[in-house]
Amino acid sequence: MRAALTLAALGAVLCGALGASAQEPDPTPRPPISGYDYMARATQELQDDDFVNPGFFAIDRGRRLWSEPAGASGAACADCHGAEGEGLVGAAARLPAVDPQTGALMNLEGHINDCRESRMNADPYAYESEDLLALTAYVSHLSRGVPVAVAVDGPAAPFFEQGRALFFERRGQLDLSCTQCHDARAGQMLRGDRISQGHVNGFPIYRLKWFAMGSRHRMFEWCNTSLRAEPFAPGSPEYLALELYVAWRGNGLPIETPAVRR
């Protein structure tokens, strides 16, 4: 009798432990649907036509910067990466990624600034500056049509977990998390805006609300502030980790840069 009770107790403990350790089901909508599909037709048409898409003003500027010598080195991006950027086709689709030398998680903005500082002897661009947006737009556009494929295993795993935790954390006076809108309620109307799945395959985007280009981190900042939560700084470790998690959610979506969003 006692043995049976012990066994039952042990069984209960085991069940409890198994239940607690079982992974929560991943609520990410599959297959991923680009933010493009949640836009009004007029906004999609703005993106579809390269001659009217306002994002191409940034790309033209980026193309100019690409071949301009910068810093004490007198070198231009084009000198190493090809006159038409052919050396970097597909690169934007794999970022952010862990840098094998430093172990740091780096996005495209980080790579451009690292190149300027360590190879070109030039000052880094300020995050969200017109020049950094222009160059990230140009380099991302080289990968237009390439499926997003960020790695989240190996050295990226801790950053991925940090980003996932942020995505599920309720924040701000409105006490909301990313997942509550972008996983569970994509497609529903938040006033006049249809909630998207929150993918980032079109960044930097031209956002009509801003009359300007914006990076992924500016969008995170905007979203956090809308929840009346303290945003993290653009380029911060928190937003880099979040960028990795959010990019992974959209693995397989083609790069659309420059996307146009409401």
């Binding site: 701000g172 006076q173 909301l176 309620r185 109307m189 006033r191 502030t225 009346r228 939560a229 303290e230």
Partner: protein, 155 residues
Amino acid sequence: MRMDGMRASPQTSGAEGRRRLALGLALALCAGGAAAQEMPEPLTAEPGNPERGRLVVRDLGAASCLICHAMPIPEEPDHGDIGPPLHGVGARFTPAELRQRLVDPKAIDPDTVMPSYYQLEGLRDVLGRYVGRTIYTAQQIEDVVAYLATLTEDP
């Protein structure tokens, strides 16, 4: 039945608020889940004013109900559909039930996306200018309760 333990007042600390909420939930479970469905006591001495309440819910800078709910306010375009339409809500709920759902709907459903409009507990990383402030003031809660109570017609 009123369960004071269900609701941490805006003055208590975060940890204490969570403990009280946990205790309240435990009590609610014991009581068959009947607790905290309503909040009969008005938050202010001044009775709610439905005309003012209608202006409060339309104010798009103030976490407007219209962001998530359709309402019989035809002069405003683009009502959200995250929450249920509020037509007829005054017939489905008493003012005491409406007040609870505005002040702290998480006392009824901890997973709801509906923000608590008069609650400071359990929040994290609140943007500087909103720290220590509830979404609505006590009087705005009363005004909105009074307005919602007038919505007795289904669409």
